[in-house]
Symmetry: C2
Subunit: 160 residues, 2 copies
């Protein structure tokens, strides 16, 4: 392993944002990233951080991240949600992603959370196979429902 994994710090956020944007471009949604570096710093490093992040560092370069935060299940209690696991495009195939995934699960285990969860695209068979091999379960009959800011504004305006 020619990389190390450590907790992300404020000074990493410019590189972290680059990785987030790189992934969005790869997913053909380059304009979907509306946050900026100050949002990452404000939300991630306040007295009540909205997320926690581990970074993979190769020499002095940030080559991958795993970003997560707590959730609460009214059946199980405290859980973690894995929001982003990103490895820089040209750094794939070196085990960086697996190492970040492992770091996240190890930390979740240490924190004694009752469950970890995340989402996957249903056509991403490689990812699904990998997750299942590690003991995760795909919930086939649940769907995510979202109301974005615009829809929320419209709902509120129409209800007034």
């Amino acid at each position: 392993m020619n990389f190390t994994i450590r907790e992300g710090m404020i000074k990493d956020m410019a590189n972290v944002l680059e990785l987030i944007k790189e992934l969005a471009s790869f997913e053909k949604e380059p304009d979907a990233v509306e946050i900026d570096i100050y949002d990452l710093i404000k939300h991630g490093f306040s007295s009540k951080p909205a997320f926690k992040i581990f970074v993979a560092e190769q020499k002095t370069e940030i080559v991958g991240i795993v970003l997560f935060y707590p959730r609460f299940s009214t059946w199980k209690g405290k859980t973690f949600h894995l929001e982003d696991l990103i490895v820089k495009q040209e750094k794939r195939g070196q085990g960086i992603g697996k190492a970040l995934y492992h770091k996240f699960l190890e930390y979740a285990h240490q924190q004694k959370v009752k469950r970890v969860e995340w989402v996957v695209l249903n056509w991403n068979k490689n990812a699904i196979t990998f997750y299942e091999k590690t003991g995760a379960t795909i919930l086939e009959d649940w769907r995510t429902v979202q109301m974005n800011e615009k829809a929320l504004n419209e709902y509120i305006t129409n209800k007034k």
Copy 2:
């Protein structure tokens, strides 16, 4: 409307837990609820609360709840996750669920979150129709992945 909606308090947690258990029984998973009243108090009313809750009260009875918490999108920023919207079985059809849903969306709007989200069973057509009417979108190609406590323990043990 012969009910009022207000913020949930510690004194409500016994009734809230009853509602959570009632829903689990209805969903034929009565043993799935592993939390107790102390978990609800500890996680919901600490200096860094894991969730926020509004309750619907009829006379002195808690007849419904909406429970949610913040999440963080690396594309959009701060979001809310609606974890539970429950109306007591025999109190349905009085508009209590809609009022709780509205209260949640109104609060989300006031807090200027960038998105609200939750999950729905794909066969629950009535719920889906209702959500879509209010402007929400069902994400058809994303699946939830979960690793529960047991699977997490096994993963960690096997990796050691």
